[in-house]
Amino acid sequence: MPINTRYFITALLVVILSIPGYAQKYNCDNIPDSLTQNAHAIVRLDSTRIEIRNNEFTKYVTYVITVRSEKGDEFASFAEDYDSYSHFYRLNAVLYDKDGKEIQKKSRSDFNDISTFGISNTFLQDDRYKIFDFQYRTYPYTVKYEYEKKYKSVFFLPTWQAQGDAGIAVEKAVLEVNFPYDNRIRYKCVNFREHDNSYLSKSFTATQECKWVFTNMKAFEYQPYSRTFQLQKPFIQLSVKKISLENYEGTTSTWNGFGKFFYNLNKDKDILSAQSIKQVEALTKDVTDEKKKVEILYKYLQKNTRYVLNSRGILGWQSIAAEKVHESGYGDCKGLSNYMKAMLKATGIKSYQTLVYAGDKLTNVMDVDFPTNSFNHVILCVPLEKDTVWLECTSNVFPAGYLGAFTHDRNVLILTEDGGQIAKTPAYDKSDSYLDRNISLNVDFEKPVQNIIWKSDYAGDMAEDLLNTAANKAQKAFEESVSASAPYKNFKLKTIALEHAVQLKNTPVIKEVAEYEVEHLITETKSRYLLSLPIMSVGLPDIETESVRTAPFIFPSGMKINYNYTIAYPNTVVPENIPKAIVLNYPFGSYVYQPELSGNKITFHIAFLINDGTYDADQYANYLKFYKTAISNTKQITLSFLKK
């Protein structure tokens, strides 16, 4: 063959093989079998490279995922936020079929760009999202996203996870971080023991690099109520020693330094004008007890301000001036807690803004050994001589000293002039948070409508929803809200009355008396009447897994609910087949179902108790039995009465 022809054929082959349609890289047949078990999707490549220069950093990401079924679709859609401190420079997406052949290609202009504007209690916010979804549903398929995102401050260094979620296998995940010599990164590798990984460190003249590589991570099933997925799989926390945000600088190698940075960010925002101070002083002029002063000022805050989020730019991290909150009557958690702090300061009481992660306790635990920005909320700590009063300044209903379920019993960071100090918020147990309900019904089989009276005591976090609804809705709208949660179908809420109190540990208590008129509880046959009385569900933790349980299960907080039914019936009937009693007792909780017949009354005592704690996987079978018995047995009370 002449040389020219050979060269021509070679060149032709090179051209043909480089055509995208012939790329085999993302062919789904190339996925190792071990990665397809239990996997709704497989990450073919998750590559993140972070380059830190001065106080800024750029993130370069390539993310390729193969979706095998509808359960994996959500992981193939793109949603990434940005704001005034970050910006996308490059963004594209590619869709491949099962053979790895490119079907569609999209550029940045094809991505939707949406703001979060419109939520009722936000005002100014600069958060936006880039979102995209091919909405391709022929399985399997592969999508690739590539983007470059620049951040104006190392304050926003992310935590990186090697495996994004349960049901997702990972073929390869890589994190590389390139940082300057004079501002080295700090990192903490968590849960690394079980997985393949390699760590390389190279030195260059001006910069250094760290790299971690993970390969062939199998999908696993998240077992409910175990440690959250994020806390079980390997992740890397990143931070740098020196940070700055706008004109504020600090060091974050200790929690003390981290707290000092935030303290300085908010310093001198707690100043009120002379006139405002006079107004505040007038509120507490005859009061000497400090705790009483706190209560009075807290009530004033609750009555005269409302929550409005303002997180534009630096206001996402810095409190708005107290005087502005005083003038406008609104603020967010930072603004309101700072305003409360300013009012207390005006009466000579010292208090401290406190950073906290608000929400599920299991999801995000403050790492006392590794300072990072893991907070999303601010409360106020008021240390008095005999007591510390914690204030949730965004609530217009909580008693002073009560922190809601979303911030209690966790580590927090108090911001003082000497730096950050770790403390723990109060915990509440079943003696503080419970529901006791007495339900009575005098059955009249001649009438289509039955009257049912509820007398309930809600305490602690059980009372929170009702507190909020009762205070913030007009009466009729409140009644509609209560009706929406009743277990009946064809009914009317006739009356409802509430009485408020505060018990020990400052927890709220509500006594509620409600009367319902309910239809279709009774069906009549030739020889009997059937009463089917629905019971309100209690929300027992559902920890059922598809596979064998291996992880311990955790109940972060306890639960105590008692229902006592009294059903009176006329002499014209005789009850038959009274259900049998059930009593289950385990370390994690107990369930009691106790029917009793006495005179012309049938009573049911139904009690649910969950004990907070961590329980080994070998308790799972017992819990499942406990759960299924409690749930299926407590959907409704069904009684039959023979006609005499």
Binding site: N396, E519, S632
Partner: protein, 667 residues
Amino acid sequence: MKKNNFNAAILFAILFFLCPFISMGQIKPDLDNQTTLIHYLSMKEHPEHPEASAFYIHDIVEQNIGIYFYDTELNIDVALKVFKANDAQEYAKLILPKFSNRTRLVNLKVTTYNLENGVVQTKELNKKALQDAEIGKNQSVQLLNAANLKDGSIIRFQIVIKDAQYIQDFNFQKELPVEYASFELTALKKKKIDIKTSVKMPFKEFRDIDAFNQSSLPSIALIYPQNRHITYKWVRRNISPFIKEAFASEQPLEHVKVNFTVNEVEEFKKVYESSLKNATWDEYNKRLYDTAFSYAFAKSDFLYQHLPPIIGQDTDSFQIAKHLFKYVQDSFATVPQHWANNFQDLIKNKKATAPDLNLLLCALFRHAGLSSDLVYVSTNRKSPLSPDTVQKKDTEIAVRVVINNVSYLCNPAVKDLPFGYLPYRYYNGYARLINKTGGAIMLSPELAKNRSEVEVNISPADTVNNKFKISFRKSFGIYYSIGERAEYKKDALSYKDFYKKILARFYPNLEISNYTLKVDHLDNMDQSFTITAEAEIEMGDNAPMLFLDPFLQKIYNGENPFQKINNRSTEVEMDFCLNLNYIFRFKLNDALTVEELPSKSSLQYSNPATIQYTQNAHYNAPTNTVEIRYNYDIVPVAYLPEEVKDLNAFYTALMKATNQKLLLNKK
């Protein structure tokens, strides 16, 4: 002296008790009057709508239009009384567009009033409080949040804007109660204006401005000519909030729409529409056949050549029609405006208006040798076509094709219905054919029928362990299938879970295992979307008698849809003809015997029946099987609001019937 004091006391008592009523019926709430202001600040709830977290004291828009339509001055004065601040946060926000260079925000005042210890406290914000924000891509706005909003506050927005486009639509009705709403427009007399109003109480018209201003009637209108100008003003008082009522198809907000005739197109439209008033249907048919729709009926070599790849090798007329319909339905996007000069352009651009798509389909049918016409329908049950008058408003074009003497109607612009089906709202009576000769056809509501079938079968799986197999199969019918397909595609997991909960209705202590849900015809619109839920079940307790709920498919989920029987304002309209057949079969094992069956039931609403329900149950001893059936039929008629009480009673009886239990004894 005593008598005078007593009379004064009575007068005071009368005034005190009448005050709430005086202020509710007053000419216009005047918040600049201190007494009125304090009265509103003292209110604890709205007298007629105590559920409202706030209400509009007044909602006033006045606009003056000069020579050009951008030569305007707009005055807005809106005041809200807020009972619950946290529930009414949305109303404290003011969002204004970022005006162009021409348009100017001349004045802005946002005032919050509070009553503290009997004294009115005021907080005012002006233009300087506005902050810029971007709410969308290239969408900039100006924002302001009212200060000092608390429970009981009044917020007042006073805005003056110059040289903006005039406001064409004004809603008197909102989602909150409105005490006083007015819309005023002053323009040059020579401008031609088209006005449309929709209100529950007709306006009483005034020409005398003084009489108008002194009237406290709930619904008044003013037409007031002056030298070169004319003023139009509409006032509504005490408007209830908009609440969407069950089974109410058309519920527009009370509103007024104004439209100035601005150019030749508008003029032409008006002339054209007025000419229609005098035309007969035959004349209109000829006009459309000869001109606007002519190319649906003309021969085209292009279309002949275009057919073969669509039809393929099929020779069956019905299949050919389906291929052509699917081709037009799937290949072209429906757009509101698109100018295509001919079918070549239309096909090349892959998009067209709805009428053009129907013309294309009709033309393709005809070129394929099928007999086809266009059909002219009303899409509004409240304004069906009349044989006596040509109507243009609320109409659409569809296609009819006749195969083996059977007519099939379709509209390829509607993407979620199969061949042979039109949207149910088209079936409202008289319709017209558009072809060479014209003519009428009847699209009666009974033709838009949704037939659903549900079949439940339970049989022993394992006699030793008292386990049963259950199968719940539901075929949704053509119209319900549209929504069900969308729900399943949106979230298949929740959808599957929903039907597991349906199975769980059978018995409170039911243990369900090996649950699966299969769907059929998810993408095949020619067939009803069908689901089959299967599982193994066990009655998981030791009760000697089982009270089972055999009605797994409940009408309206077991809830009476007409529980609210007071103050209904709209007619009740069912969407389409519905027929639901339910069969429940339970083959017992040897351990169970029948104690009692649900009783027979037969219910009918009105005569002839527009709603019917029949229910039967029997036990077949030879096969040891319990069989329960019900049939539920409705015809889509409209019921007056007052009939809600009777409908409530009917459905109460129906709920009672389906609330019955199947009682079995354990041997």
